[in-house]
């Protein structure tokens, strides 16, 4: 496998983890988060600091998970105080705050970021396999959660918090849990990204990246793990396969997003479902 293919597969794996984890917050539990890049970044910086100080892969991954989820739980508590549209704005604010904060901190490398992060010792292929392993585990975990009583309650909270409360469901606890889990996984993706690049700057975790992750979730089908996985793979590979898409990435993603919301609000997942129903019906 060429170095290029290894790097593409690694990015695909990281984007799958990010999109699936965002889907757990926004798709399963209905909490619109447009600042997923901040949690990804928190994990990446935590892992970078851990690797620089200890060179322990396990410790770095743990630090990434904890950093992502701690920031996520704080935002989760904020979600208890604001309605959905204001939550979206709050999470955008968190993303900008994160970038602004990191850029001004000398201990985080400021504008220059953190470079010279020690290698994991697994090599590029080893890193790729580790990333794909975690991506697979994240998909399996997401499918499990959606089938569990937790996923069942998430759907109720996402559809109508008030009605969920009349069935004894503490909507606040579930929202914080969704943020805690989803952002821990985003932090994990950040850690894996750090291992992959060995160099991080704040720009990699900006608001535009968060919107691209949301585009993957919406295009795949909000709430559908399989749809989001396919969309995140497709939308990561598309710019690599077609030069035009790479040159006009934001335009293409934005256009797709508008088309899906206008013509197929359920995304790829709903399109496939409708197709299956139609084929079975004929």
């Amino acid at each position: 496998m060429s170095a290029y293919e290894i790097s593409i597969l690694s990015i695909v794996g990281i984007n799958v983890i990010l999109a699936v984890s965002l889907n757990m917050i926004s798709g399963f539990c209905g909490q619109v988060s447009l600042g997923h890049g901040a949690f990804f970044g928190a994990g990446a910086y935590a892992a970078a600091l851990a690797m620089v100080s200890t060179a322990s892969v396990l410790f770095a991954l743990l630090a990434a998970l904890i950093a992502g989820s701690l920031l996520g739980i704080v935002v989760g508590f904020a979600s208890l105080r604001v309605r959905s549209d204001f939550l979206a704005i709050t999470t955008i604010g968190v993303n900008f705050l994160f970038i602004g904060f990191v850029r001004k901190q000398a201990w985080l490398g400021g504008e220059m970021g953190i470079s010279g992060i020690p290698a994991t010792g697994l090599g590029a292929s080893g890193n790729m396999f580790m990333i794909l392993l975690f991506a697979g585990a994240t998909i399996a975990f997401s499918v499990y959660v959606s089938r569990s009583w937790m996923g069942f309650a998430f759907r109720a909270v996402g559809e109508d918090e008030g009605a969920a409360a009349t069935l004894g469901i503490n909507a606040g606890a579930y929202k914080v849990a969704a943020f805690g889990i989803g952002t821990a996984l985003a932090g994990l993706a950040g850690g894996l990204y750090t291992f992959f690049t060995q160099f991080i700057t704040a720009d990699a975790f900006d608001f535009i990246f968060s919107v691209m992750l949301m585009a993957m979730v919406v295009i795949g089908g909000i709430g559908s793990t399989s749809g989001v996985v396919f969309a995140s793979i497709g939308l990561t590979l598309l710019p690599e396969a077609i030069r035009f898409v790479n040159d006009y990435r934001l335009l293409v993603f934005g256009g797709l997003l508008v088309l899906v919301i206008r013509l197929a609000p359920g995304g790829l997942a709903a399109m496939v479902r409708n197709l299956v129903i139609r084929v079975r019906g004929t």
């Binding site: 499990y144 959660v145 569990s148 008030g162 069935l167 004894g168 849990a177």
Partner: protein, 253 residues
């Protein structure tokens, strides 16, 4: 023995309007109480306070002797209170069965992490199907809740309330918007609920049905209790009669 529900001097004000002005009453276990009053009497506000959707500015609410004044709705439901909404609120994207299963599984959803550890829903599904048959909705299990006509949605509200295995059930205008046949069927269902030993508080504008099925009437006007007792005696009270005539509320009789 403690009352199923007790209110002590409950009051709430919205700006300059005293919506509920110091309401006190106790409801015994197994009772069937109608809460009535003209428009603006404070019924819906009081129901929202009891359900935990509004916090009173003063007063105390106890369920089975336990002070729940500071508890949120979900915590009160876990203490045995169930409620139906005046405007139906089913989970429209879920099946009828899943709407009820979620209530039956109240012990599974007590905390997110306990909920994460369990997947199996077979026992809850069987119980939910039984509850649906009790309210006359057998055969609708696989339909999307959002596709049901209003009459069935109102019955689904009752089924969901029963699903949480309540000791006391608050029904907020369960007959509103139903035609005569649907209303009769709904009244039968509500009567059956009470016969199962569940305390029922019925807020309803259809006075004919309230008089027919309730054992006790509590009449509110201007945020105060102006009548409380056996339905015929309460309605014969001149103060209650004046409030009705003044409030423009008419019986369906």
């Amino acid at each position: 023995m403690s009352a199923a529900l007790q209110l002590d001097d409950v009051a709430i004000r919205f700006g300059g309007v005293q919506a509920v002005a110091g309401v006190s009453f106790a409801i015994e276990e197994g009772d069937f109480v109608g809460l009535i009053g003209p428009n603006g009497a404070g019924k819906t506000t009081l129901i929202k306070i009891v359900a935990g959707l509004l916090r009173p500015e003063r007063g105390k609410i106890t369920l089975g002797g336990i002070d729940v004044t500071d508890d949120a709705t979900a915590a009160r439901v876990r203490r045995g209170l169930a409620l139906t909404h005046q405007i139906v609120r089913p989970f429209r994207e879920m099946t009828v069965l899943d709407n009820v299963v979620l209530g039956v599984g109240i012990h599974r959803t007590a905390s997110p992490f306990r909920a994460m550890l369990h997947v199996d829903r077979r026992r809850e599904s069987e119980r939910a199907a039984h509850i649906l048959s009790l309210v006359g909705m057998a055969g609708t299990e696989r339909k999307l809740a959002g596709s049901l006509p209003l009459g069935q949605m109102k019955r689904l509200e009752v089924a969901r309330a029963l699903a949480v295995d309540p000791k006391i059930i608050l029904l907020d205008e369960p007959l509103a918007g139903l035609n005569h046949t649907e209303a009769s069927r709904q009244v039968e269902t509500i009567s059956d609920v009470q016969k199962r030993g569940i305390t029922v508080i019925l807020v309803e504008h259809n006075l004919e049905e309230v008089m027919r099925i309730c054992r006790r009437l509590i009449v509110l006007n201007g945020g105060l209790v102006i009548g409380d007792g056996e339905p015929r005696e309460v309605m014969a009270d001149p103060v209650v009669h004046d409030a009705y005539v003044g409030g423009g509320m008419a019986t369906h009789a």
